[in-house]
Amino acid sequence: MSKRIQVDITVPNQTKYLGVIGRIGESVVYSLKGYQGNRRELAYHLNLVLTEALANAICHANSCDPDKDVRVLISASDKDLTIKVFDQGQGFDIEALSKHKARTKDEGGRGIQIIFKLMDRVHYTREENRNVLEMTKYLH
């Protein structure tokens, strides 16, 4: 393996675990010693992106079924930060969402938009029997 930190997390499919995953993401950011930007801001953004992506996997893909599990992979080097969130739901058309802009006063529909704003590369693909939301942030 090259010089990467890799953190593979599995938790019960419940929103009460969003906090711990967000905090783990922040810990990973604080370990990126070489990062020149605003580390606090990056930590918040990673926490947020993890929270949004996981909440969607938990509630939309896994229908909030507390007996399922949900898995996320955080991987970081000096060059980039990559998150993969896995789900086994019916999938959705992320391209359509990326084009359609929610109106400011809509109650929902901000999660994917936030992810697109904060990350440099976002893909949602089907792999065997699961979907993967892969999100990358370049660090310089």
């Binding site: 929103t15 009460k16 969003l18 906090g19 967000g22 606090r40 801001e41 918040y44 926490n47 947020l48 929270t51 949004e52 909440a55 938990i58 509630c59 400011t104 006063k105 809509d106 109650e107 929902g108 901000r110 999660g111 938009q113 936030i114 704003k117 904060l118």
Partner: protein
């Protein structure tokens, strides 16, 4: 979600006593506000001083309260945002929707 309610005249001050406002607990705030609307209380100040982190569900709950308050000719205003929370309102352009005050007194005086 830990919430503290204080009434001052016809204004209800809702203090969110959580570090995180996310998909796990924002539904509680939304429901609590719906109860208040049912009781005819539709001038709300949400004090976010304890909140260090807010996600799209937290923002959504506030938008829901704002729309319900406005529909009843009331208002929902915000105060005491930490910088990182404030920046989420900017990211989503919601700072143009809400009246946001630096502290509770300013928010109270604005009604």
């Amino acid at each position: 979600m830990q919430i503290k309610l204080t009434e001052q005249g016809d204004i209800v001050n809702i203090s969110v006593e959580e570090e995180r406002m996310d998909a796990h607990n924002s539904g509680d705030l939304k429901e609590r506000m719906l109860q208040l609307f049912d009781e005819g209380k539709c001038n709300l100040i949400i004090d976010l001083s304890s909140v260090r982190f807010i996600d799209s569900s937290g923002l959504g709950a506030l938008v829901s309260g704002f729309k319900n308050a406005s529909a009843r000719e009331g208002n929902l205003k915000l105060c005491c945002l930490q910088p990182q929370v404030r920046s989420m309102f900017e990211l989503t352009r919601l700072h143009r929707v809400f009246e946001i005050y630096a502290d509770l007194d300013e928010a109270l005086n604005s009604f």
